[in-house]
Point group: C2
Chain length 315, copies 2
């Protein structure tokens, strides 16, 4: 990509909902290209209309199967849907591990469904900062409902899935029990729990254990529901879809959605500013290898060095 006209053309393409422009714009986010700032400024006015739905849970619980069934439910209501599958980057694998998106293929030929895997190759701040911008691109392109699916249950994955209007956490018997979820802070961010593979014996126990953990927690504005599905059989998916819509209606009406969005934007700007600053500090340390040597030789300690750098930069 080169100069001004390209970004302007890309912005126009995204705003017109052109799939190719949307795909290119998301690649630009993945790569953390400098054009990103102008892209962001160009599309931002057209965002805020889509509803966003985060889906997270341990590998193998059946997130993709459930997501595919929920896409079908949304399509049955005529809504335009985008699915963003966010994975941490590994130089070993790139995006090549996303073969488990097969279930989504039934929607691949639907012109009103956009499916995209996303890795973060160069974006400052990684997934947590790249995903919201990709969501805004999909929003600006006119998708009514945007799924953000993350793989894994680490803190970063939870944070990405939580940065949505409605966050759905999927569990399954024998995979990622409630205690492990609690450790990743996943209980706090869920608006809705789905115990998938409910055709298995242990599913009832997972749901019970989960309700117990929730009961131990602090009271929330709205207690999350715990539902059961056997998504591969289609059982229970309609009830999940209804619960998602119910949460959305509540969140919109109560102001909870707008409050969450505002807090999220502020946190994102804080992080973006901090990352910009980190780059400036990294450049300063590269220019001044003496500081690294001072650190290694223990003439200055890490906290002292950070304070000195922060002072220097804010003068």
């Amino acid at each position: 990509m080169e100069a001004a006209t390209d970004v302007d053309g890309l912005v126009a393409g995204v705003l017109a909902g052109e799939r190719r422009a949307v795909a290119r714009a998301i690649s630009l986010v993945e790569d953390g290209r400098p054009e990103l700032e102008r892209l962001s400024a160009g599309i931002y006015g057209a965002t805020g209309r889509a509803a966003t739905l985060g889906i997270t849970g341990a590998p193998g619980v059946g997130k993709s199967t459930l997501a595919a069934a929920l896409v079908a439910a949304a399509r049955a209501q005529g809504r335009r849907v985008a699915v963003l599958a966010v994975d941490p980057t590994s130089p070993y694998t790139g995006g090549a591990l996303l073969g488990d998106r097969v279930r989504m293929q039934e929607h691949a030929t639907d012109p009103d469904v956009f499916i995209r895997s996303m890795a973060t190759r160069g974006h400052l701040g990684g997934m947590a900062l790249a995903a919201p911008e990709a969501v805004r691109i999909l929003d600006a392109a006119g998708y009514d409902l945007i799924f953000v699916e993350t793989v894994g249950v680490g803190q970063a994955e939870v944070d990405v899935a939580a940065a949505t209007d409605t966050t759905l956490v999927v569990l399954a018997p024998g995979l990622g029990d409630a205690v492990q979820m609690a450790k990743a802070g996943i209980l706090e961010v869920a608006d809705l729990f789905v115990v998938n593979k409910a055709d298995r014996d242990a599913a009832g126990e997972v749901a019970r254990e989960l309700r117990q953990m929730l009961h131990l927690g602090t009271a929330r504005e709205r207690e999350p529901q715990v539902l059961s599905t056997a998504a591969s059989l289609g059982d229970g998916v309609d009830a999940v879809w209804a619960a998602i819509e119910e949460h959305r209606t509540w969140a919109e009406g109560s102001g909870a959605r707008d409050a969450k969005r505002r807090a999220r934007l502020v946190a994102e700007v804080e992080s973006l500013a901090a990352e910009r600053f980190r780059l400036a500090v990294a450049a300063a340390l590269t220019d001044d290898p003496a500081l690294a040597t001072d650190l290694v030789e223990r003439r200055v300690d890490p906290y002292g060095a950070a304070a000195a750098l922060a002072r220097r930069a804010s003068r």
Copy 2:
């Protein structure tokens, strides 16, 4: 904690290797107390002597059992050992979920073993920045070998375990397969793999799959070994201990250890400085709620707002 004398006393206690002082100093890190800067400055000169060993892997693979066996091996050589078990914080759970440290209890009465669970309640930057400071406290207190054990396989957990001289990744049949590990970037950071629960049928397959994934990756300075253990039975632990020592000898001799330590310190200082800056930005946003409103009402986009804040702060 109050004024000057307390931190000075704490520093003296840590340097004298007093367990109570060490415990209090780590609590101070967990809570992200302002005294941390003086503590850090006070102890830093006495650090850099300990060898550090990171242990990570999915829940249930037997990390704690293996760690306990390795502590015994280190003790048999007369080395003083500290174990730092790092967990993400959850307001639901605090540190209360660490009941699985039972295996470590056999070492609890050994005056030359220090065991500590650590959550990050208030430290700026979370686990990734709190853990290295806690390690330095243990280093300054005179422990020869410091284990850093993390729970889970998310990016944050991997980063913490990787910030050590030797990083050991534990796998087990049926738990956290190689593909999932690759996604979390865990393959790249491992100096040594241990397939635990080798008494199970599928262990050989896990080791094969792992070697295949490693083979696909880019060449490294030193290829990580893949070993098998049945830690609960004690099988294979001696070979793992020998491989750890071998890696340490190589890393010290080749300069790889010092290069890694230097890079780590620089990265830590960058992050600490960026987090300081983030706090300044957060304060600026709190003082000026108009910016949040401008964001919500789409008069300024997140990247534009971050750039403006970064410019403002570095004037």
